[in-house]
Structure formats: C-alpha cells, structure tokens
C-alpha cells in the first residue's frame, strides 16, 4: 500500500479550502454570474379549461422555478403545492372573471432549479425571453429569490416573492418585486418581547445561528433588538450550516449561562441542536429556533421538542377572518383559513405548512390585483399592488412604497408556536404569541 497523493486530491483540497474560507468570510451569497442559456424541459400546470362565459378568454402564464432536487426540495415542494392548489381553485371557478366579461385563465410554467442560484438566473431569463411568461413568482429561499429578483428587475417583469424573507434583497430600490413573507429582521423580535413578558427576570440571551444569509440577518437584527431592550447577549456566534455535532458549541453556550437561547437556521441543524441541548440538560428558560419547530416532524426528536418555540409566517391555527378584517378596518379577500386548510388536506393528505400558504397566497395576490384592475396590464397591476392593504387567510398584506424599500412587506406579522404536551402526554402545537392570536399561554422550558 505505497502512498502517493493524486493530483486530483490536491486540486480538490485547494478548491475546498478556498470555498470554506469564502463561506466563513461572506455568509450572504451575492450572485454575480451572467445568466447561462440552458434549455431544459419545463413542467406545466393543468391546462386551462375553456371559460363558460360569453366574454373573451385571455390566457396568462405564471413562471417560476421550483427546487425539485437539491437541498430546498421539501420546502419548495410545499410552496409549489400551495400554488397548484390556488390554480386548481381558480380553474374550478372557471378562471378569474373581469367586469367586462373577460375571463383570465392562468397556467403555470416552471423548471427545476436544483436549489442552485446559477440555475435560477438562467431559468428566469429563459422564462422571460423564451417562454414569454406574463408574471413571475420567486423560487423558495432568500438566496434563490435574490438571484431571480436580479433577473426580473433587469427585464422589468413583475415578480411576487414567497419563501424569501431576506431584508437586503428588498432594500435595493427594486420596482417590480413584491415580498409576501415578513422580513427576516422581524423574525425574533416577538420572541424577545415574549421572553420579557414570560420571564421579567431574564437578562442573558445567547444568539446562535447558521451562517447563511437568512439566519445571519435574523441574528443581527435580534442582537440589536435584544440589546436595545436591555438584554445582555452573552453568546453571539454563527456555525457552519452543515454542522451535525453541536456538543462543544453547547458546552461553550452553557458556560455563559444564558436565560434564553435563540437562533438556529434550518430544519436539520435546528432539530439536531434542540435535541443535543436537551440531551446535555442545558437549563435555559426559553429556546427559540428558526424554521425547524413549526414542522410536524420536529417532534421526532422526542422530549427535546417540548417547550421549543418557533416563529412562523403562518400556521393553520391562525385566526384571520372576515370579522378580524372588519375589526381591523381592513378589506377581506379570498379563501378562509379553514377552507384553505381543508382543501390542502384533501388534496395532499397533509397539513399545510407556511410554505404552502405562501405559495397559495402568491397566486391569490395576483388574482386580487387582476380583479381590482380588470386587466392583466403589468403597470396597472403594479399600481394596484402598491396601494393594496388587506387581510387574507395568510394575514395582513401591505407593501412598502418607499423608493429604497419598494415592495418590501410591511403588513404581515409573524406568529410564534410552541410545542406543548396535552394531558395525555401528546405533543400539541400551540400559538403563544402575539397575545391576540394565542391558542395557549407560553410555557417556560423545564428539564425532566
């Protein structure tokens, strides 16, 4: 077994080192490459049925990419399901009916972006130039949506972003991009408010986060918010997104004795982190993690899931309704929460996640603007979106019209869920914040 280092291993080593250094230095990926010219086969939604009204029928194409492969395929798949459910509802209703009798029949055209930013840029260029889509919806995730937004803005094509909460993307003076998700900067502020309400004596917070663009942004704003509210941030550190063993990091966190631990990143790291904190018996009063806790499979980690709080864009338990809209002096539009949840369950045999709700809402928002303007003219639709201020099953929707932050979401609020146990010892997901939307009181974390 004589050793000899192959040249390929040398090259792999140097490339890996370069990538790792770049990843550690620059958490927010900034795609700069020019769009490539790929010609993959698109997937399409159901073919529009012929409208039964006597008016003209206009077909519109809504284009987007979905991550059918790669690391985002689960969340993106749910987002796609929500959008397809919206299309199914519109098709069943005979299309979007305008006042002059015209029926607008939408169809979907999408490609697999493989969860890669360079694919997104190539495919959005293709959707605009070759497929001639009328409107765009973003891919899932802040990073991919940012790549798509660069292209849609270059071509002046209207795009609704869903599954994308990054603040920076929406602070570039975009003119044609509209964000559905509550921005990342507000993800943990409610949790810090909840800590103050639940445990007034708590003073020390550990903020630990995955070093990706979204989680880093959330952590930065959480740090500022916590400090401004008198908390001492005793740990403020990022970890590699692929981390699977947090043992040493947890030892370091434990040494700082935080009252609350906040942060995380995505499902795999968040659920592993929660389990290992529980296994190591870390006695923090509150554990708030991004993304992972709202997923029903989070309870697979066992008792470590109890008391864990997670911010969510939407949950089936939310109480948005026509009555709530009336009370808030806002117009109500679209499907009810219960109907959306029931329809989704019937079609996909699963509870809808916030990704799915976001997908449905993206279609619903375009539908609302088309109905309001009685046209499919992008300029008119853009003007309508600018002044939109309404309540839907997904919550309050309002976009910034400020030149720098145009299209940024300023109406929608996060809800905070917590895994609690019922009298029989079964896990139950409860909404614990804001107080106006809660289904149960929040509980401080206790170790067995």
């Amino acid at each position: 077994m004589s050793p000899r280092i192959p040249r390929s291993l040398w090259i792999a080593a140097l490339l890996t080192l370069a990538v790792v250094i770049l990843a550690a230095c620059a958490p927010a990926a900034a795609p700069t490459s020019a769009p490539a010219t790929a010609a993959p086969q698109p997937s399409t939604g159901p073919a529009p049925t012929t409208a039964s009204t006597g008016g003209q029928t206009k077909n519109i194409i809504i284009g987007f990419t979905a991550s059918q492969t790669g690391s985002n395929n689960v969340e993106s798949g749910k987002q796609l399901q929500g959008l397809q459910l919206w299309l199914s509802d519109v098709t069943k209703a005979g299309g979007i009916k305008l006042k002059d009798g015209t029926v607008v029949m939408p169809s979907l055209k999408f490609y697999d972006d493989e969860s890669k930013a360079d694919r997104v840029q190539a495919l959005y260029t293709q959707l605009i130039n070759q497929d001639k889509v009328d409107f765009l919806i973003s891919p899932y995730s802040s990073g991919l949506a940012k790549s798509a937004a660069i292209i849609s803005e270059q071509y002046g094509k209207l795009m609704i972003t869903t599954g994308a909460a990054d603040d920076a993307t929406m602070e570039q003076g975009f003119k044609n991009t509209y964000q559905l998700y509550t921005p990342a900067s507000q993800y943990l502020s409610g949790a810090i408010d909840l800590l103050g309400k639940l445990s007034p004596s708590a003073k020390k917070i550990a903020i630990v986060y995955s070093k990706d663009a979204f989680s880093t942004t959330v952590a930065q704003f959480a740090n500022t918010y916590a400090t401004s509210h008198g908390y001492s941030v005793v740990v403020n550190e990022g970890y590699d997104p692929s981390t699977t063993d947090f043992s040493s990091f947890i030892n370091k966190i434990a040494a700082a004795s935080p009252d609350a631990i906040m942060g995380g990143g995505h499902f795999a790291d968040g659920s592993t982190f929660a389990k290992q904190l529980f296994d190591k018996k870390i006695p923090a009063q509150m554990l708030v993690l991004l993304v992972a806790p709202p997923a029903p499979t989070f309870t697979q980690i066992g008792d470590g899931a109890q008391y864990v709080i997670g911010p969510s864009q939407w949950e089936p338990q939310v109480t948005y309704s026509a009555d709530a809209a009336k009370a808030a002096n806002l117009p109500w539009y679209g499907i009810s929460v219960t109907d959306f949840t029931a329809e989704f369950k019937a079609k996909y045999n699963a509870d809808p996640s916030y990704h799915a709700a976001g997908g449905y809402m993206a279609g619903l928002l375009l539908q609302k603007a088309i109905e309001d303007t009685n046209s499919i003219d992008p300029t008119a639709i853009k003007a309508d979106l600018d002044k939109l201020d309404l309540l839907t099953f997904y919550g309050h929707i309002k976009f910034s019209t400020d030149a720098k932050t145009h299209g940024k979401q300023i109406g929608h609020e996060m809800v905070y869920m917590q895994w609690q146990k019922d009298a029989s010892g079964n896990f139950v997901k409860q909404i614990v914040w804001p107080l106006t939307a809660k289904t149960a009181d929040a509980q401080l974390r206790k170790l067995p």
Binding site: L14, L17, T244, S248, K252
Partner: protein, 287 residues
Amino acid sequence: MNLAVLVSSSIDGLMLGFIYGLAAMGLTLIFGVMRVINLAHGAVITLGMFALYLFSVQLGLNPYLALVLTLFLGLAFGVVMYFISVHRVINAPELTTLLATFSVDLIIVGVGTAIFTTSPFSVNVDLGTYGSGEITVLGTKIVAVLAAILITVALYYFLYRTRIGKSIRAVANNRSAAELMGINTTAMLALSFGLGTMLAMISGGLIATLFTFTILTGDDYQTKSFVIVVIGGLGNPTGALVGGILLGLLEGIATLFMQPSWVPVIEYVAFVLILLLRPNGLFGARA
C-alpha cells in the same frame, strides 16, 4: 476558559473522532488496496444512515440489531458496486475510476432524493446520559465509540490473522505477484471494496443513532474523510482512525476558542499544510 468545559469538549470531540475515523477507514482501505478514490463514499455513508432508519424505524427492529444487518448489507452492496462500476475500469487511469465512483454517487443521491426527498430523518435512540455537572456523555456516543473500536480490532484481526486478509494485503502490495501465487485477485479486490463500503455504511448507521440526517448529509462526512486520510496517510487504516480522533479533538477544542463557522477553515488549512509538508500523512502508510 473553564477547565470543566475544556474537558467536556475534549471528550465530546474524542468520541466523535472515533466515528470520523471509522468512516475514513473505508475510504483509505479501498484506496490502499486498489488505488481507487471512492467518490461514492459519502453517498454510501448516507445509505448506512437510511438502512438503519428503515430497519429500526420502519421495520421496528432494535437499532443495534439493525446496525448488524447494515454491516452485512454494506458488504454485499460494496461487492455488487465493485463489479458494476469499478471492476471494468480498475486498471484505467485514476480519473476513470474517480468518474465511475462519482457516477455511483450521483445515482445513489438522485434515487435517494426521489424516494426520501431532502427531508431530515432521525432515529431516536435513548441510552441515557452519564456524568455530572458540566461533563456529560451520551450513552449512544459511548456505544458508538465501543462499536468503532470493536470493528477496527476485528478488521485488523481479519487483515493480519486470516488467510483471506493476508491475500488482500498481498494484492495491495503487488497484484501481479499475488496472482502468480494463485490468489484470486478479482475476488480479493471485490471483497476489499465490500469491506470499505461496509465500514462506510456502518459508520453511517452509527452517525444516524446520534444526529439528524438527510440524503445529502454524506457529502460532509466524505469531505471530512478525505481530510482524515490525508492526516493519517493514504492507505493506512490505523492512520485513518488516529486522523479521525485528531480531527474530532480539533473540532471539539477549537470551537471553544473561535466562532464555530471558522473551525472548518482551520481543518482545511491543516489539510493543505499536511499535503505540503508531509504528503504521506502524519503516520505514513503501510499495508
């Protein structure tokens, strides 16, 4: 720095290092015997994770019994994989075998994504926590370390004390001479590939008892395995185990003194430095 935290993190890192080492042993064994850099190594580690998940969660078997089944499955899968993807190109340049195993990697990850998606899975094994105060050790980690040690000892016994093991070493040293001595080299190569795959799958199974995993998780362990085999010396199974322990310790201790996101940078700097200064690894290599 609190001494208890340092001790606790050292223990955590050391224990993780044994599992890293076991994973890397599969890679180094295959390279040592047949000069093939197995780029499907990470995918095979993932297969081990999902095999354990299917046996224990879906079929309801005890996770550690499932681990034994995973061991035999890994051996069989490796032999099959050798004949399908490696045997016909075994004498071709390194790039050919590299691409052949990379193709297998793409197939495994592609089929796995279609079946399991990239959703995280976990096997919830609870063997309690031992220790007190700031120094605590999970029962599952203790079992994983013991399993890694047991498998390493068994591998060495097999390679150095059995006739077949000696035949494998003979093939590794000089394939033509081994053939002239009447050794069935094809069978030995297939068996070696099977053993390497078995080690990767069993390490995947052990990792699954500790951490959440997805179909893409194996890539990270593959990269670590490359670092480890370079530290320990390509083709040297003992070096791989020691390299794994060193890497685990480095991760455990370095995390205490810097942002965790910088720890991989330190690892890869060490990787490149060893390539530059000691290209045979810290422990050289031998059959």
